[in-house]
């Protein structure tokens, strides 16, 4: 029986919803444009018939074909017609979108051929989006009917959806942005690439590289120390360490930078104490490499910790026991068995740390001072006084090359080299205690770090309650008042505080993006772990690759690609939601893939033997078992949406100011009180949100064997 949903979507997209982008946002009153004669809000049929948009006729005709094609009899005829109509529809939509711009024909040869147009068109909107989905699913449905994807329309549609998201919102904008580096010619590009300002002493490329390597080395060692302490000792500190490692995940990375300024900055506690006690001026050493390095190590150690704890917990304790029974003492066991088995994990943590560091924007802009790195350089090349889009594109090339080559090295190093759970079933051993020397070393590193983290957070919290940090310690609520003041007017509450608009926008956009990100991410994870189809590996690699694209590059690319029709999204919330989805998709994807790989594939087979299709199996069997993964994908989608800076700083506008951008800009202008008060509130809101999601969806931990005899 043909599925009626897809033709219905096509019909709504072409006949009911406004074809073009709504300037006043998705919720404007003239949204349903069925009878509107305003070209801005009319549906495609009306535009073509009455409003001179004749170039939409082929799209409409193709839509009609696509809607009736599923009713054609026969696998080959029906499937072929669907595939052809769907693909042709997508091509026609793209073609007319690029061909006709705001002022008429975009390409001169078309104008010579067909004569000038009476009027142009805006960018695509809701109607076009639905129509696009309709064409896409018609095409994938046709492919499934022809026998691709094992004949399953749901799998085909899911693969099509993931492919279009990755292509349209990651690859296309990035390719455009990178190609624009050649606008002034290849020679010019080469000259700019070899610029002394980049590679010389103090150049931003060299700086980025040095910073990234240092941060990666430090975070890896710290992460390892914490992972060993948490898994291999019975210190009371363990619980605290685990909790501390969650904090930086829900903290916008630059908040650490703010905390460091409060301690070590110009008016920070240490400088104050030094000048009061010894009359020494410690100066501004924190602004520059030391500060950025310190802040990034604080911010990204938890990431390394999470990588390393997986590695350490995955080591079979029986291997170490075996070494002990083979006459190896504790130190030799650690050196010859534990350490080599952890090495692939260490490489992984190192490379993740490097990518995080080179992608970071918030800490360098808050603490960097004269220490230029690529991400801040790109920002100033886009928005600064000497805006230079060509230079931004060249810098994006270099930054992308750094992170992609790191990504490639990581894949190469870890491919087929995971020793985790090689030994199979039947393990019942207990982890060996750490050799004394290593345990002391770990403690010596971990305890000061934990203390400093607590201090940074305590000070950030306290910093919002004093008038001017370092100069006027009078307790005050004025920063909170300025940010979150409420008033009463005739119409009810007046949101007087300066932070309210950005907070509402942030929560709204992150709230919209989180379920979409989690949904597409889990769908992609299911495709990549459970389904076999041609092009799967390519699609998987492409999706994971977007993880390595620094946010700054995404931001620059989006500004360029989505500034003009057919996708004119700059300044809207849509572009920010899209940026969130493409940035965070790999996170949900990884969580999902890890979860799926723990579920026995025979569950799927059992479900399909019980006459359930792939969609029903996913919904009725797999998703209920994946609740923890769903929860964490939702949490990560939301948290990263709220805390990210690098991509969105290019995409915000007056209407869509984001909280993090607001805070960073305040901090850069020296208004630390407001910035810190706002950051504290943000962290509190995220904590509450995580609690709520965990409560609603439920977090289930699948426990390891506890040390024998610890009877519950």
């Amino acid at each position: 029986m043909p599925n009626l949903l897809v033709p219905l979507v096509l019909a709504i997209g072409l006949l009911v919803l406004p074809w073009h982008m709504q300037q006043d946002g998705l919720l404007s009153p003239d949204w349903l444009g069925l009878w509107s004669t305003d070209p801005a809000s009319a549906p495609a049929l009306l535009l073509a018939a009455r409003l001179n948009h004749a170039w939409l006729w082929p799209v409409l005709a193709c839509g009609l074909t696509a809607a009736v094609a599923p009713m054609l009899p026969g696998r080959r005829l029906g499937g072929g017609a669907m595939l052809a109509a769907g693909l042709l529809g997508l091509a026609l939509m793209a073609g007319q979108g690029f061909a006709v711009g705001l002022a008429g024909w975009e390409w001169p040869w078309l104008e010579r051929l067909a004569g000038p147009l009476a009027e142009g068109q805006f960018g695509m909107g809701g109607g076009a989006a639905l129509a696009g989905f309709g064409f896409l699913f018609t095409a994938t449905g046709g492919a499934a009917r022809l026998g691709a994807f094992r004949g399953d329309a749901f799998t085909a549609g899911a693969a099509g959806l993931v492919a279009i998201v990755v292509l349209l919102f990651t690859f296309w904008p990035i390719c455009l942005a990178l190609l624009s580096a050649f606008d002034a010619g290849l020679l010019n590009f080469a000259a700019r690439l070899a610029d002394r300002r980049l590679w010389g002493w103090g150049g931003s490329a060299l700086n980025t590289l040095a910073l990234g390597l240092a941060v990666a080395a430090c975070t890896t060692l710290l992460g390892l120390a914490f992972a060993l302490l948490v898994t291999r000792t019975r210190l009371p500190l363990r619980k605290l360490l685990r909790a501390l490692t969650v904090l930086p995940i829900i903290t916008p990375p630059f908040v650490i930078g703010l905390g460091l300024i409060l301690i070590l900055g110009r008016a920070g506690l240490v400088n104050q104490a030094a000048s009061a006690l010894f009359g020494v001026d410690l100066g501004l050493w924190i602004y520059g490499l030391p500060g950025v390095l310190l802040a990034q190590v604080f911010a990204f150690t938890p990431v390394a910790f999470l990588v390393m704890i997986g590695v350490v917990e995955g080591l079979s304790p029986t291997l170490e026991e075996a070494a002990r029974t083979l006459r190896a003492d504790g130190a030799r066991t650690f050196r010859t068995v534990t350490w080599p088995l952890m090495r692939p994990g260490l490489a992984n943590a190192f490379l993740v740390g490097f990518i995080e560091s080179v992608s970071d924007f918030g800490n360098p802009i808050v603490l960097g001072g004269d220490y230029a790195v690529l991400s801040t350089d790109i920002y100033f090349a886009v928005v600064g006084a000497q805006a230079d889009p060509g230079r931004a594109a060249v810098l994006a090339w270099i930054l992308l090359a750094f992170s992609l080559s790191t990504f490639a090295i990581q894949r190469w190093l870890t491919a087929g080299r995971s020793y985790v759970s090689v030994s199979g079933k039947g393990d019942s051993g207990l982890p060996q205690p750490l050799p004394l020397g290593i345990r002391r070393l770990c403690l010596a590193v971990a305890v000061p770090w934990a203390a400093l983290t607590v201090a940074v957070y305590a000070l950030v919290l306290a910093g919002g309650f004093v008038r001017v940090w370092g100069r006027d310690w009078t307790p005050t609520l004025s920063h909170y008042g300025r940010a979150f003041g409420l008033g009463w007017g005739p119409g009810g509450i007046i949101w007087e505080g300066t932070a309210w608009p950005s907070l509402f926008v942030t929560l709204q956009l992150a709230g919209i993006a989180a379920p979409l990100t989690a949904g597409i991410g889990l769908l992609a994870a299911w495709l990549f772990t459970r389904q076999r189809f041609a092009g799967r590996r390519l699609l998987e690699a492409a999706t994971l690759l977007s993880f390595a694209v620094p946010g700054t590059v995404i931001g620059v690319a989006y500004v360029r690609a989505f500034n003009v029709p057919p996708l004119e999204l700059t300044g809207t919330g849509v572009i920010i939601v899209l940026a969130f989805i493409s940035r965070n998709l790999p996170v949900g994807l990884r969580a999902g893939m890890a979860a799926f790989s723990q579920l026995d594939p025979s569950l799927d087979e059992a479900s399909s033997m019980l006459r359930q299709g792939n969609g029903a199996t996913l919904r009725r069997v797999l998703l209920p078992l994946l609740r923890p993964a769903v929860a964490s994908a939702l949490v990560y989608g939301f948290v990263r949406g709220v805390t990210t800076v690098s991509a969105v700083i290019f995409l915000t506008s007056g209407q869509t100011e984001m909280a993090t951008v607001f805070i960073v800009l305040r901090a850069v202008n020296g208004d630390y009180g407001l910035a810190i008060a706002y950051a504290s509130v943000l962290v509190a809101i995220l904590l509450a949100a995580i609690g709520l999601i965990t409560l609603l969806v439920g977090g289930i931990r699948i426990g390891r064997r506890t040390p024998a005899g610890v009877v519950a």
Binding site: S316, T318, L319, E321, A322, A323, R324, T325, L326, R327, A328, D329, G330, R332, T336, V337, P340, L341, Y419, V422, S423, G424, K425, G426, D427, S428, G429, L430, A708, G709, V710, V711
Partner: protein, 349 residues
């Protein structure tokens, strides 16, 4: 290599309030293979790990030979162990795995000994392979070679065959036994498979809830189980009640003599006693006025034997008949008469 005995002297192992091993005293003779047998959670693996030094007793003393090793870490004991999961180091080749424990020796001697051990388990030529390139049975052999090469005073096996398929399990079982006999090794062997224990052991120690339920040779444990638990664990056994009178067990119309030695050892008094009836202890015959009358409830043809459940006045009995070619259908009336062995009194606790 000098094989040593192992002695447990009033050993306890507690985990908080839980007791894994309580007041365990045992002795393993040098050069013998002793099996620790019991259901999961009975303390057999904990006991083995205490010999290895991977766990320490909460109380009591463990001796290897005459040396008190209580409290010594594993690397200072003259033992080695084959793990259930084999625990081969995945980042080392077969040769490196086997040579791992010989690091104190000069290189040439180390390599020679490793090669010899690898050849001993029939894997010559596999030295450069990684464990992941071997089959399960080959991995098992490497694990044995790695433990053997140290020429330990005591060799420990922790359910070494449980990850192998049935055919390979029997083959490896025989190889381990042959190796132990040829080299005169002292072996402590943990398993929960009674057939495996019966096949390879000099001595079997049956454990239950942290204590020794019974120790003895395979024949003793099968023919003269002390308790209903041991009888049921060592093969199949039907529990029943009987009356003991002057060395004769009376089960309904049946009268079965008890070996005098068993009677004295068990300290059985005349009166009602618990008995264990092996499935092969009663012969199934056509109905007659002799023997215990019964009715077939269920029957199954197993190839070598036919299995029956027979309803009698003693209860439903599980019996086997090695002679049957076509099993009797349910509902058939039969008479049951004792064979020469397989009905013994057992203590009730």
């Amino acid at each position: 290599m000098t094989a040593s005995g192992v002695t447990f002297d009033h050993v306890w192992r507690r985990y908080g309030p839980a007791i894994a091993v309580q007041d365990l005293s045992l002795h393993i003779q040098p050069g013998t293979l002793v099996t620790l047998l019991g259901p999961s959670g009975c303390g057999k693996t904990t006991s083995l790990r205490m010999i290895a030094g991977l766990e320490q007793p909460s109380e009591g003393q463990v001796r290897i030979g005459t040396k008190d090793v209580t409290g010594l870490p594993p690397d200072q004991r003259d033992v080695s162990m084959v793990f259930q999961s084999y625990a081969l180091f995945p980042h080392m080749s077969v040769g490196q795995n086997v040579a791992y424990g010989l690091s104190a020796l000069p290189r040439a001697e180390r390599d020679a000994r490793a090669r010899e051990a690898i050849a001993q388990v029939g894997l010559a030529g596999f030295e450069a392979r990684l464990p992941s390139q071997l089959s399960g049975g080959q991995q098992q052999r490497v694990a044995v070679a790695r433990a053997l090469v140290l020429r330990p005073a005591v060799l420990l096996f922790d359910e070494p065959l449980s990850n192998l398929d049935a055919r390979l399990r029997r083959h490896m079982r025989d190889e381990i036994r042959a190796l132990q006999q040829r080299l005169g090794l002292t072996v402590a062997y943990v398993t929960h498979d009674q057939a495996e224990a019966l096949a390879i052991s000099d001595q079997i120690i049956v454990m239950n809830q942290g204590r020794i339920a019974q120790a003895g040779t395979p024949g003793q444990l099968y023919d003269e189980p002390d308790t209903a638990f041991v009888a049921a664990f060592m093969g199949e056994a039907n529990p029943a009640r009987a009356r003991l009178q002057s060395g004769i067990l009376h089960l309904g119309p049946l009268a079965v003599p008890v070996p005098p030695g068993l009677l004295a050892r068990g300290g059985f008094q005349d009166g009602d006693v618990d008995v264990a009836i092996r499935p092969e202890a009663l012969r199934i015959e056509p109905p007659s006025e002799h023997g215990l009358p019964g009715t077939i409830l269920r029957s199954a043809f197993m190839g070598a034997v036919a299995e029956y459940t027979v309803a009698t006045t003693l209860g439903d009995l599980f019996l086997t008949d090695p002679a049957a070619t076509a099993p009797l259908p349910p509902g058939t009336a039969v008479s049951l008469n004792p064979t020469s062995r397989g009905i013994v009194p057992v203590r009730s606790t």
